[in-house]
Amino acid sequence: MRMMITSIGQWFDRRLQLAAPVREIAEHPVPRSTASWWYVFGSAALVVFILQLMTGILLALIYVPSGAEAWSSLQVLNHSVTLGWFVRAMHGWGSNFMVALVLIHMMQVFLFGAYKFPRELTWILGVFLLLMTLGMAFSGQVLRFDQDAYWGLGIGASIASRVPVLGSAIVKLMLGGPIIAGATLSRFFTLHVFVIPGLLISFVCLHLLMVVKLGINEWPMPGRIVKRATYINDYHELTKKDGAPFVPYAVWKDMFFAAFIILAVAACALYFGPFGPTGRPDPTIIQTVPKPDYFFLWLYALLSLLPPSLETPALLVGPVVVIAGLLLLPFLSGEGEKSWKRRPIAVLTVMLIAITLGTFTHLAGYTPWSPHMNAWSGAAVPDQFIHGTTALERQGALIFQAKQCRNCHSLGESGGQRGPALDAVAARLTQDQLIRQVIQGGGNMPAYGKNLSPAETTALVAFLETLHPKGQTPARDASRDVALGNEKPVAQP
């Protein structure tokens, strides 16, 4: 039996002649220090990519890339096809894991100085692989053709339309027509299933080829300086003196980690299930709060918090600067120290980026900038704010509720966070200031002058004046009493 397998193998190899090069790649010597748990993220990303290819092909057996039918075909996958929900969940979670792994891999490569000479091109291809991974994540979200996908495309189109002169043409090219419709989905299907995966596969092959040809980056030691003239010799010496064959010396850690990641994807898929789809992609249903997928939440927060005047420049110039910076990095610091212990700015940069993205992502989780559309009808003014109030103040409380002030302002911990909480507003603003703020708005608050009658304003301000902590007197303008001869001022809108 064994003889037969050997002879069949030899028959093939005489024709394919692949055994020798494959063995050479598998057994190429790597520095012993690289057989580390820090060196497993790239291979894990590759394994998840293969998982994505396989689950993607399985989904394509049922999925229909038609604007009219995509959403229903996802419902069929979720509810009618045996284990369709699980394959969708694997693909969705696989996507999240892949983005995370690519980012961690990139961070590790950056901190270990692996992008320096002679691995500049490996890094550059890696930057493109990151962009393509993000492109896959976004286009995949579009293929889940639901309300989030529809309005996400709207946001993409609105950003693209800000490009000077060419904006409108770019939007039509992106959407495949004048509106978000069937042609748009077909376009993103083509990108997600043919164009980007094709590029990804070829770039991954080149990326791997270079890792094998140039050798894996050695563990960085403080003081071991990279110099173009000597590095290659030094590296060969290192692998000769302190090297070991990649298989099996280092590969087992990659295998363990990859298997762990695959199981983690499956566990998430099993426990959390597939992502959406949310409501039908029907733009006449406006009762919707669109939100992007996890890895684009930071962008969602950024777009809400940037000052309006900075937004267009930031959107158009920002990505160019970031991508150019990443591509130029190996040329700007192609030599020198590799160890993170001697590169404090590199460490601080990673921390700054991680904290910034993390904070924005966290903020996007509860969107303090968005009005809570149903707060005014969903949460009544709590009792303690009405207890012991006069008729006028109660009338004000009613107006406060009916005019939907709570969509943006919270009272008793419930309501929007767009504007400041009003539990103690009377301690901050005098009566005059309250009237002015209500009528004229300002500081990001709309003006309500046209929407409130003088009587309503009087009542509303009377209620707002009761909102101060017990034992603390409301803010008042001392000069006002004098000017009016100690009379209590009356609202004159």
Binding site: W71, G154, S158, L173, L175, R280, D282, I286, R418
Partner: protein, 189 residues
């Protein structure tokens, strides 16, 4: 032996017969590529060229004037004039119709002028609010607060035989034809 004899002359002259044919072959392929590229590029960019000079825009009926009471702002829906069979519900569009008085209307795009999310009308507070990034507009569509740089987009409208029609057919974005048509006035509180 024989191959060597065939190859030898090519190394002697500056432009060999075979070298010339290779160059001619490249030129021939380049010409073929150029010929094929014309229809391919035309196909790829047809989404842009088809819509030149407001080509996508046309008049769409929204309904009877009587359906929109004076002084109120109501949601209206219409089917996009340019439709493909695979569009499904995505070709249905909503807009806000504000009947100011008589035959005077304002028809606002549902899309926030910031990044296109669907704005909602709040009758009591007299504001349009956006659920995405917190834009707010007054009842006349002008910017009230938040990230938008301008007021809501407005469709051109006309009232004929007691019905209201708007000129629509393109996703309202800052760069779209509709943005230049109306609603570009600076905000005033």
């Amino acid at each position: 032996m024989s191959t060597k004899a065939v190859l030898e002359p090519s190394t002697e002259t500056a432009v060999s017969r075979r070298g010339f044919f290779v160059k001619l072959g490249i030129l021939f392929n380049g010409m073929a590529a150029a010929v094929v590229a014309v229809p391919i590029v035309g196909f790829l960019f047809s989404a842009i060229t088809r819509g030149r000079s407001n080509g996508y825009l046309s008049w769409v009926q929204l309904g009877k004037v009587a359906d929109f009471p004076e002084g109120e702002t109501r949601l209206a829906t219409f089917r996009n004039p340019y439709v493909m069979p695979t569009d499904g519900t995505t070709a249905d569009t909503a807009c806000w119709v504000r009947h100011v008085a008589g035959e005077q209307f304002q028809v606002f795009a549902i899309n926030c002028a910031h990044l296109g999310c669907p704005v909602r009308w709040f009758q009591q507070s007299g504001l349009f609010m956006c659920p995405c990034h917190g834009g707010a507009y007054y009842s006349d569509g002008s910017r009230a607060s938040g990230p938008p740089e301008r007021g809501l987009f407005q469709y051109p409208y006309k009232v004929e035989n007691g019905s209201i029609a708007i000129q629509a057919g393109e996703l309202p974005t800052p760069g779209a034809a509709i943005a230049a048509l109306t609603g570009d006035k600076p905000p005033c509180a």
